[in-house]
Amino acid sequence: MKELRLYMAQRITALIMAPFVIGHLAVMIYAIQGGLSAAEILGRTQGSVLWFLFYGTFVVVVSIHGAIGLRVAASEWAGVKGVALEVFMWAVGLCLFYLGAQAVWAVTFAAGVGP
């Protein structure tokens, strides 16, 4: 029942993503009021457990959701099958996770703001 498990994983991550997307958009609209600067963003995120968990969880569910979705697209549009399809899915998922986790780590723990 691998298909069903993938389907459920994708639907459940979609459910989790919905409030995250709304929260993310709301913060974006709020944050750009009166201009936007790196210092302002980092002032909010650095050392914040709340924002680390918010964006950390967001990155995890996006990686799962996106990888499963692109697996279907690769299979139906590009005819990728078998082991190559699984490798593709894991590569997409891990890549999304690496990029997202790196960003979350940087805004939470990295020291200093560039000029």
Partner: protein
């Protein structure tokens, strides 16, 4: 405006697009697409192969692509599909062509069985006939899908079938859904397993061509959505047990 002659293009052979043949067919007041094809076979080219039986929309054997759209040809009036005085008729999409307008329906029916679209009985001939309550939600739900005539129009209309040869398709999944809701069918577990595998109901992208083109106005897309709900429920239940 009364037309005298119809310009009929018929796609013949596995290389359908490359093997188009045109015929001039006399127009009549009352004429279906199937009548046009039959006129060609009887008067212009007896080697033209096509399939039909009942001519009244019961048997589901005469479906073809008409101007790129899957239709039951015996119940489609030619005046509804004419482009000027021209029409293009081809074999059903998504199925192997045997010859001319006759396609091999085997994959369609094989998938019907793969989706457990077969009766799963628990009673023997010695048991009394189980009563069916016509008023239950399950029975009403099943009733919405049982008038399928296996014409394969939905299967030909489905882009997901085109993209994924393993996909069971709308008709087979709708049958699975009606059986799942049938009080006399005992195959619940095997049906849910069959529609949860590779090419099962979760492959559907809800594009809705099946429901849009079904000549009997059935709604396979909603039936498949029902299967998705039921399999999700059973997924959580299995997780708890």
């Amino acid at each position: 405006m009364a037309l005298d002659v119809l310009k009929v293009t018929i796609e013949r052979g596995p290389d359908a697009a490359a093997a188009q043949q045109s015929f001039d067919v006399p127009a009549y007041e009352n004429q279906t697409v199937l009548d046009v094809v039959s006129w060609v076979q009887q008067n212009a080219d007896p080697t033209l192969s096509y399939r039909f039986a009942c001519r009244v929309g019961m048997c589901g054997s005469c479906a073809m692509m008409v101007n790129g759209v899957p239709r039951w040809t015996c119940r489609t009036h030619i005046s509804k599909v004419l482009d000027g005085n021209a029409v293009t008729i081809g074999p059903l999409r998504n199925l192997p062509v045997i010859k001319d307008l006759a396609v091999d329906m085997d994959p369609f029916f094989d998938k019907w069985v793969e989706a457990e679209g077969v009766h799963h009985g628990a009673l023997t001939r010695d048991d009394p006939i189980a009563p069916v309550d016509e008023t239950t939600v399950e029975r009403t739900t099943a009733n919405t899908g049982i008038e399928c005539i296996n014409c394969s129009v939905c299967y030909a209309a489905c882009d997901t079938v085109t993209a994924n040869k393993d996909y069971l398709g709308p008709a087979a999944l709708q049958r699975a859904w009606t059986l799942l809701n049938d009080a006399k069918d005992e195959g619940r577990a095997s049906i849910l397993d069959a529609v949860s595998g590779k090419g099962g109901c979760h492959t559907c992208h809800s594009m809705g061509s099946c429901t849009a083109y079904c000549p009997n106005d059935l709604d396979p897309m909603s039936a498949i959505a029902g299967l998705k709900r039921e399999t999700a429920r059973s997924f959580f239940r299995r997780g708890r047990s």
